[in-house]
Subunit: 347 residues, 2 copies
């Protein structure tokens, strides 16, 4: 989900045969502001930054502790805002990041992406690209309250003159409980499904399945959590740009309604030491997925120059690996594992 | 270091054109016992099992809590013994594993291994192979006491008639402190160097460097720990089999003398809550290396049918990821990180 941080593998200055995408966009912003007529790059950037503020404000209300905010600029244009809350009253660790990248995509990445985006020129060494996304991961302290992850991103490549070539959207949101409350799972999936259904009745079933397949700890034969939606490479072969942007906007806008009622219900529930320990074991599985299987994380960590602290913001504050731990027969812990081994339909 | 668990990617029954390596070895054991004239497979197996017992006994004396022992057999021959101690008095988690595998090596693995072992036939779909190794990882509770890792292994391939084709040794041992005591680092390296020097004066410097290069969290530009030795693919282009076996025996025999004095000195030292927390952060880095960079672990987890609990035995019981944690100027924590960023010569 954090792919956008890692795509910057070739940061040579752009060629001097005209203003770069970054320069054009900076000029547009200064001269005309951002309207519905602006390039999608600027509209997406504005949209994710607005939502980052709104989400952070809402989470601060719930936690009572303010987020720590880091911003950074990229020399080639763009930058990021990391909002992190650690050891809060409700959240053990919560990160809400936006990132805007103007960079160059190296040839091996172009060739990989061509599988899904035929418009990419296979005969160049590198291409200008743009990526903007919002990523968040919230790990609550209370073991009855589920971890949640969300990422929505927009990606664009351009020719040397700065004209858009290929573009696509990706993202999703998924829930990872340590203790399963059916009403939470149903509410989370229902809220997302409602957002999807407004745009295409096929989206929720397709993207729910994609999510179950992607967020899987294959080495254990179990899902990371109880899913949600996941999609990637949605471009003009799917729908037009305005339609997809509207879809992504609705998905992101559905986040607070999908999660806030759940965290409110669970954050103050009583729990035992043993239940806290089970949560820690489940956090270990979260780490396993993110470090072993998540394409964005692994690729990012292997990419020189990426911002490691932003990539690994997704890891929980604490985790546990207990040899041969296995839940008691008939316990709530066992029931969770059963559902993780056999993903369910929730709506 | 846990590669041997993961090599078994093709467990079809062996062909029926003669007794398999496993059958031959079982017969030899029954009829003649194991002597200096036995195949290296049996001598290595006996050697690592003896040492596993001795190491476990010594660690139990120090901890006061017994190890939990799991054994398992592999249907094609061979098996494993996992000795694990969790939440002991001295060790938060300690695992000492032996594993003996008779299996078949699939073609992609053969082609990779040919880079170092020209005797491998590139024109077959799979080859019988044998692997035996001992792996251990000890994570003490006290943050002043370092984590230690060791792995020694012997690998062999055969033709369909069960005649040895290629063979090699690999392994090493390395130390990962949260707080650096120079005397510990010097003692650890010195003990290993003495074992190496008996066999070849070039071994310690070569394998010390290899260790620094291998156990590196490249994404953070820092080593996992303060090193030791690491080597792989030592075959008859290096020395003859008896000489290399003697070398590996001396390395493994050097383990207790290299580590026991250190754990005795550190296990009861006073420490603060803040120091415990720093250890937890360092444990997080240990997890990062093992899940992101360690070839054996990653390959194992991506291989169907491997014993996940044995592979992940190397992970600490508890770990921590704290956003943007950075040690105070001039602190002991900062000094450790400096050394991890610039590996030192200790002897």
């Amino acid at each position: 989900g954090l792919l956008i941080y890692s795509m910057v593998t070739d940061d040579k200055p752009e060629r001097l045969d005209g203003p770069s995408m970054a320069e054009k966009d900076a000029l547009t912003k200064r001269e005309s502001g951002i309207t519905d007529q602006s390039p999608m790059r600027l509209r997406m950037e504005e949209f994710i930054k607005q939502h980052q503020k709104q989400i952070v404000a809402e989470l601060e209300k719930i936690d009572g502790k303010p987020f720590h905010i880091d911003t950074w600029d990229r020399p080639q244009g763009g930058g990021g805002i990391s909002c992190v809350l650690q050891e809060g009253n409700v959240f053990e660790k919560a990160g809400v990041n936006t990132s805007v990248v103007y960079g160059r995509l190296p040839r091996p990445a172009i060739l990989k992406m061509r599988a899904d985006h035929k418009a990419l020129d296979p005969d160049v060494d590198s291409l200008p690209f743009f990526a903007a996304g919002l990523s968040l991961v919230l790990h609550p302290s209370n073991p009855m309250a589920p971890t949640v992850h969300l990422n929505y991103r927009y990606f664009e490549t351009a020719d040397e003159a700065g004209n858009t070539n290929a573009w696509w959207y990706g993202g999703g949101s998924d829930l990872t409980p340590s203790y399963l409350f059916d009403e939470d799972a149903i509410h989370f999936h229902n809220t997302i499904k409602t957002a999807c259904d407004k745009h295409d009745k096929s989206y929720y079933p397709r993207f729910k399945k994609w999510c179950d397949e992607y967020f899987s700890n294959k080495h254990r034969g179990e899902s990371r959590g109880i899913g949600g939606i996941f999609f990637d490479d949605l471009d003009n072969t799917e729908k037009d740009q305005e339609q997809l942007f509207a879809f992504v906007q609705d998905c992101l806008s559905a986040f607070l309604p999908s999660y806030i009622p759940i965290i409110k219900r669970r954050k103050d529930m009583p729990f035992t030491k043993k239940e806290k320990q089970w949560q820690q074991i489940r956090r270990g599985r979260y780490v396993e997925f993110n470090l072993v299987h998540d394409r964005g994380t692994a690729f990012g960590l292997n990419t020189p120059g990426s911002r490691v602290e932003s990539i690994l913001m997704s890891l929980p504050l604490t985790a546990r690996w207990q040899y041969m731990h296995s839940p008691e027969k008939g316990s709530r812990e066992e029931r969770l594992v059963d559902v993780l081994k056999n993903p369910r339909e929730w709506v």
